[in-house]
């Protein structure tokens, strides 16, 4: 259905959509107050399992994608069991060490092509499939948002103890959400590997983490639309300014993260100008969220 899109544009849009999937997996975790730095590891697991399966065996790309998703989700589940015993900053540290360990393994294991990585991965989902996946994800997130479970997830971020007291099984919610978001990141990784055809360990490192965090933090956790708009905005900006790929791209993301954290800790979608505009446009239904104080929307969670 998207055959009319020229090849180059189709590739660019596809890779933006894949980034969007990764960003949403991170921002959904933020919504639950989980500050995990493991996303690069899950994307790598997804990419590598799809790559290994489809290049070493005669499995179809769809099968590779499924393996990537399931394996990432499984690893996330196990990792969650271990690291959720840690609190606060130690959780960030543990997940960061995990992500680095995955990359180390990938760049030393023969099966994953050690430092050379894997090339010649057959293409999988086209642009149409990716659009479908993103739209489906957005619908799921919107349904989740309006449901009991979505409110429970947000309640956990606002106050774990209160949520627990109100009957939310905090540990289970966090674990399941972590596994699902890990699976989502793995799916995105598999799609990326199949789109580009070549993967190596260094593409999943620190710069991916900062890029994704820039999008997710700028977007904020008020609504899933925030990260979506932030990702699209940054990608368009990068195309227009033509700084893609240079060190200034990374510089811009780094500065964006600092500015957002320092000036609008709640992300653009919860910042005052946005609220003001939204209120004028009459798009908000304030009644439903009136009980939540503004500062509690910080994607970076609460210390207490």
């Amino acid at each position: 259905m998207f055959n009319w899109v020229p090849a180059y544009q189709a590739f660019e849009i596809s890779s933006t959509l894949i980034t969007l999937l990764i960003v949403l997996s991170v921002s959904t975790l933020f919504e639950c107050g989980i500050f995990s730095l493991a996303v690069g590891g899950f994307v790598a697991i997804g990419g590598y399992s799809a790559g290994v399966l489809t290049t070493k065996t005669s499995a179809t790309p769809a099968l590779g994608m499924m393996l990537g998703t399931v394996l990432s989700a499984g690893v996330a589940l196990v990792l969650g069991l271990v690291v959720f015993r840690l609190k606060g900053i130690y959780l960030a540290l543990g997940t960061f060490a995990f992500a680095q360990l995955v990359l180390l393994l990938a760049s030393n294991w023969e099966l994953t092509g050690s430092v050379n990585g894997i090339y010649g991965i057959p293409p999988g989902l086209g642009l149409g499939g990716l659009v479908l996946a993103v739209v489906a994800l957005c619908i799921v997130l919107q349904l989740l948002r309006a449901s009991y479970r979505g409110r429970a997830i947000r309640a956990i971020r606002l106050s774990e103890r209160t949520a627990e007291a109100l009957g939310v099984h905090v540990a289970r919610y966090r674990l399941v959400l972590f596994a699902l978001c890990g699976g989502l990141a793995g799916f995105a990784g598999a799609c990326n590997a199949q789109l580009v055809g070549v993967i190596s360990a260094d593409q999943y490192g620190f710069s991916l983490l900062v890029t994704v965090f820039a999008f997710a933090l700028v977007g904020g956790t008020g609504h899933w639309l925030g990260p979506v708009l932030a990702t699209v905005f940054f990608t368009v900006l990068q195309q227009v300014l033509g700084y893609s790929g240079s060190q200034w791209e990374q510089f811009a993301y780094g500065v964006a993260v600092i500015l957002v954290v320092a000036l609008a800790p709640n992300g653009i979608s919860e910042s005052t100008p946005w609220r003001w505009t939204a209120a004028r446009l009459g798009k908000r239904r304030p009644a439903r969220r009136a009980s939540l104080p503004l500062e509690l929307h910080s994607p970076l969670g609460r210390d207490t």
Partner: protein, 290 residues
């Protein structure tokens, strides 16, 4: 025995790195991801001095000052505004990640993405033979300076007026401010000390590698975390022991298992310590800082 000496030599640099990180973590309460860049900037500061014709001792000093300046700048420009707006632990993590990437990009631009030769002339080279064991002089100097610096810092914190101010700020920022302690000054000075120690580590690293590029320090971020976690957050003595321990463990693992463990040792140490004893080897239960 030779492996042990090699490990201790490596551990000296790690201990310096850990000291810087654990100071910032303990006193400022910030888990900083920019420490590897502070180190690389320090090393480049000293390289710039050498290329201007400065002798080795001045070059080391320039590296130390560069590290201290960068660290103070991070504290004043990034960390302090966020603290004033009531940032959480995580906002500091996110912000310092941004700082790390930005600093790295600037350095990549300044160094034109090239790898530079770091001249070893004037630095202690060669080796001392102790029976069958060969002790490289440079490594011995690194180890010694790590131990001495760590010891001096511990004494300063325990005995001097400044040290008492730091410990008071760690206990309670608000009460310290009420008692007339200049909290801002304590933070700035602590950043400067941490940056200086880290810059020194960077210089030592560059000298022993004889080579320097904008990404030289990147892989050592995890090492610094591992040392700090291993020793217990905010414990200076712990950082010293943790650094030496990690250095020895790494060398032993590479010698007896596989070269892949060179970095793996750090990651495994972090995960293991966090899983088994999150307060580290020397940290107290309550995570009291410093």
């Amino acid at each position: 025995m030779q492996q042990l000496v090699n490990g201790l030599g490596l551990g000296g640099t790690y201990a310096l790195l850990g000291l810087g990180l654990t100071l910032i973590w303990g006193v400022l309460g910030v888990l900083t991801f920019a420490q590897a860049q502070v180190m690389t900037w320090g090393a480049f500061g000293s390289l710039a001095a050498i290329s201007l014709g400065a002798p080795a001792s001045v070059a080391v000093l320039c590296g130390v000052v560069a590290g201290a300046l960068v660290c103070m700048a991070i504290d004043s420009v990034v960390i302090n505004p966020i603290r004033r707006r009531g940032g959480t632990d995580f906002s500091f993590v996110a912000a310092t990640m941004g700082v790390a990437v930005a600093l790295s990009a600037v350095l990549q631009w300044l160094s034109k993405s090239e790898s530079h030769v770091f001249p070893q002339a004037g630095f202690p080279t060669g080796a001392i033979h102790l029976g069958e064991v060969i002790v490289p002089t440079l490594q011995a100097v690194v180890l010694l300076s790590g131990l001495v610096l760590g010891g001096v810092l511990m004494l300063v914190l325990r005995l001097t007026s400044f040290g008492r101010q730091v410990r008071a700020v760690v206990l309670s920022r608000e009460v310290s401010a009420l008692l007339g302690i200049n909290v801002r000054m304590v933070y700035v000075l602590t950043s400067a000390i941490a940056g200086a120690v880290t810059g020194l580590a960077g210089v030592f690293l560059a000298v022993s590698n004889a080579n320097l590029s904008y990404s030289s320090g990147d892989s050592l971020l995890l090492v610094a975390f591992a040392v700090a976690v291993l020793g217990g957050i905010g414990s200076l003595g712990g950082a010293l022991v943790g650094g030496l321990l990690l250095g020895v463990a790494q060398v032993m693992a590479v010698a007896h298992l596989s070269s892949a463990f060179q970095q793996g040792a750090a990651y495994i140490a972090i995960l293991l310590v966090l899983a088994v004893r999150p307060q580290g080897l020397f940290g107290s239960r309550e995570m009291v800082r410093v």
